[in-house]
Amino acid sequence: MRTGASSNSARYDVIVIGAGIQGLSSALQLALRGRRVLVIEKDGPGRHASGVNAGGVRSLWRHPAEIPLARASLEIWRNIEKLLGTDCRYHSNGSLRIAESDHDMARLDERVAELAGLGYEHEEILGQNALRALVPDVAAHCRGGLYSRDEGSASPFHATWGFFERAQSEGVTFLIGNPVSRIERVGAVWRVHAGANRVEADVLINCAGAWGGELARMIGDDVPLEMEAPTMMVTQRVPRFLGPVCGVVSRKLSFKQTGDGTVLIGGGHRGFVDRDAEIATPDPRKLALSARTVSDVFPMMRDVPIARTWCGIEGMTPDHLPVIGPSVAAQDAFHAFGFSAHGFALGPIVGCIIADLVTKGDAELPVAPFAADRF
């Protein structure tokens, strides 16, 4: 792994822990605002959730607290090439939540009413015919859907790598292959021990994903976080049949066709996590569950072979909202972790929020719901 420059006891403005999309985006935005930034990563950039997720860039069906962030992030995704010099394979094919019953349709009505109350209009209800027109291969029993047309998906690998490369070219230093094992406060300075290195900075950012809880504890914050392993499967290539990224209202499913024709199937079934080896493995029983949902909702998929499966390790908070904001116990430290299986889409905006918090002491977007002391 290329490591930028390595350093033994250098001094930075900001140290970011974790080179997932949150850490990389934060590092880039801080560098763009003139800060000298070091990113410390124990494995590799995008090695965990950020590099292996489903790539859904969605505001649809999100918790209302996340909507302003998701919408603002979407603006960046749409122009991602300007920021990163790569399009990250971002495609705006819309996202869709399919209703399988009257009960599901009623939930869609409730959702749209709730959003209207908050002043949002981007989620629209589709009736059965409109649904069929949008996704002709959907099963006959499906009643309708909720659609947000101006969003889509990107390639997690290309996006994460894009942030990594851009951060490097903006002068961010990387210390890769070094786990942070200890953090000390020495006067007004953070001293971080990572592998054989000892580095210092004025400000500390915890973007350690599923390990964010551990890192938070190192600076005195107690945030409950579970490590979980959402599962993905991918099929062999099939001729193009599907535009939007699809979910189902009452079952766990996320379903989309990639540019190369393979179909990505996810949706939150959990695999096994080996905490020590930091490896997650799919559970065949859960794969079967997912396969059942897919063959119910998209019967034409039945004969398509599953080619590969995998899991990513992700940090889940009790309310499934991320932790974004200042440390409770310490000065000059901020968190952005625990994205609870839907943080990829938020990556671009989280970097801006963190950079604002560090440089201006405040964020333009409402981040109070994500406070570290809410639990």
């Binding site: 290329r2 559970d283 065949p284 398509v304 599953i306 590969r308």
Partner: protein
């Protein structure tokens, strides 16, 4: 219901393991994806009969020698499931998932014996993906599967005992052989020579090898030695193969080109289970680390046969028996003293078969120009059409391992699950980085090790013991 011993693969290793385990009163299940038992060497044996006296015996006496193994499995109390493709496995608790008749099953077991054998090392030379180019083993499968005559001018290229065997079998079948291009060099002969004394103690194996050489020589077919720079040519299908022999460029017209550079252990299953592996330098492959009984780094999980390292069919048979004896002892069906007594003959047979291996391993060392192709346009990953040049380009932008390469280039992400490119990718990256393939590592293998239709996955039937999770 939970099996005491689950055996995967019904080749000589799996057949003898299942038979032996059943002999000790254990509940045994034997899964194999083929329609009939026999594995690679005895493929389709149950459906073939020896030729009448006087007619040429194309497949040879070693083939018919598998009969007793098939008879034994017929009589043993073994639940043998043909046409069952294993697509997943887990340790702790031991679980095996297979696909049969468009349904998937998840079964629990107390011991697992993996006897999935070997497969032919991919031979990535320019043009190897052209129709009309296949492996020597694939041609042999056609012969075993019902004597489909191989028509047209055939050229065989590469090295290894199986290449010699298939050449002889083709000669007997009356096929038209336009050439045999051996990549073995004088240097290989010299390196092998020091292993000759040990091989002399496996006289009949040595004799068979020499006999094959004599048959080939006597046939008068065109043979080139020390061949390099192999390239298959053709537009729609192959029409010829060019090469250099002792520095001189040459070309032979051909309708069928058979490539072969030895066989390597199937490590998909052992990688999936995350067992320990070691790099075997003489033959440049990975093999799972096993003890004398074939037990791996996971308790109760055994590898028998060529899947643990290439020792040949007779050794495979012995190692299957050894794994079963140890499994029986671990499951309390056989006191250790009796296990040791009954294991004696199998240990002796295995040791005897292994005597010739150092000679073969060094004589038929896969050449560097094959394991690590240099021509930038050579395709490495057939499924996703990734070539040498693409891999080098990815490495230049910071990609330094096989798993990362998948994300960069889709290399290894096709239906074969990386079996056809895995070794080549590790070799190429090792060379570029100036380290050993072992340092570079291999693809991480995940479920499913064989593609499984969505509907079969959806229709999963699981043992009671394995549903809870």
């Amino acid at each position: 219901m939970k099996a005491d011993v689950m055996v995967i693969g019904a080749g000589p290793a799996g057949l003898s393991a299942a038979t032996e385990a059943a002999r000790h009163g254990l509940k045994v299940m034997l899964l194999d994806e083929q329609a009939s038992p026999g594995g690679q060497i005895y493929r389709a044996l149950a459906r073939n009969t020896p030729p009448p006296a006087g007619a040429p015996d194309i497949l040879g006496e070693d083939y018919w020698r598998g009969r007793p193994l098939l008879d034994a499995i017929d009589q043993a109390a073994v639940e043998y499931v043909p046409g069952a493709t294993v697509w997943t496995a887990e340790t702790d608790p031991l679980t095996v998932g297979y696909l049969k008749d468009e349904r998937s099953f998840l079964r629990a077991a107390r011991s697992l014996i993996i006897a999935t054998g070997a497969y032919e090392r991919p031979v990535p030379v320019p043009g190897w993906t052209l129709p009309g180019v296949m492996s020597a083993g694939a041609a042999q499968i056609l012969m075993k599967a019902g004597g489909a005559a191989l028509n047209g001018r055939i050229v065989l290229a590469g090295s290894g005992p199986l290449l010699q065997l298939v050449t002889c079998q083709l000669l007997k079948s009356g096929a038209e052989i336009a050439g045999l291009l051996e990549t073995t060099t004088t240097k290989d002969y010299l390196a092998a020579a020091r292993h000759l004394p040990r091989a002399l103690r496996a006289r009949d194996l040595l004799r068979k090898g020499l006999e094959m050489r004599r048959t080939i020589k006597a046939s008068g077919i065109r043979v080139h030695k020390g061949v390099t720079n192999l390239q298959c040519h053709g537009k729609e299908t192959v029409d010829g193969i060019s090469f250099e022999s002792r520095g001189k460029p040459d070309r032979i017209e051909a309708d069928l080109v058979l490539l072969h550079e030895g066989v390597v252990p199937h490590v998909q299953m052992s990688r999936l289970l995350d067992l320990s592996h070691e790099w075997f330098e003489p033959q440049r492959y990975w093999r799972p680390v096993v003890d004398e009984w074939g037990e791996t780094s996971a308790k109760g999980v055994f590898i028998a046969g060529d899947g643990a390292g290439i020792d040949g069919a007779r050794a495979a048979e012995a190692s299957g028996r050894l794994a079963a004896l140890q499994a029986a002892a671990q499951l309390g069906a056989l006191p250790n003293a009796e296990r040791d007594e009954q294991a004696g003959a199998a240990f002796a047979q295995k040791a005897k078969e292994q005597r010739i291996r150092p000679l073969l391993d060094h004589l038929y060392r896969p050449p560097a120009h094959i394991v690590c192709p240099e021509d930038p346009s050579t395709i490495v990953c057939r499924c996703e059409e990734v070539c040498v040049r693409d891999i080098h380009a990815c490495m230049e932008t910071g990609c330094d391992g096989p798993n990362q390469l998948k994300a960069y280039s889709r290399c290894g992400m096709g239906p074969c699950q990386g079996r056809m490119c895995g070794l080549t990718v590790s070799e190429l990256m090792a060379k570029q980085r100036g380290v050993t393939p072992d340092e570079v590592g291999y693809y991480r293998i995940r479920t499913p090790i064989k593609p499984i239709p969505l509907s079969a996955l959806a229709a999963m039937e699981a043992d009671e013991e394995v549903v809870a999770s």
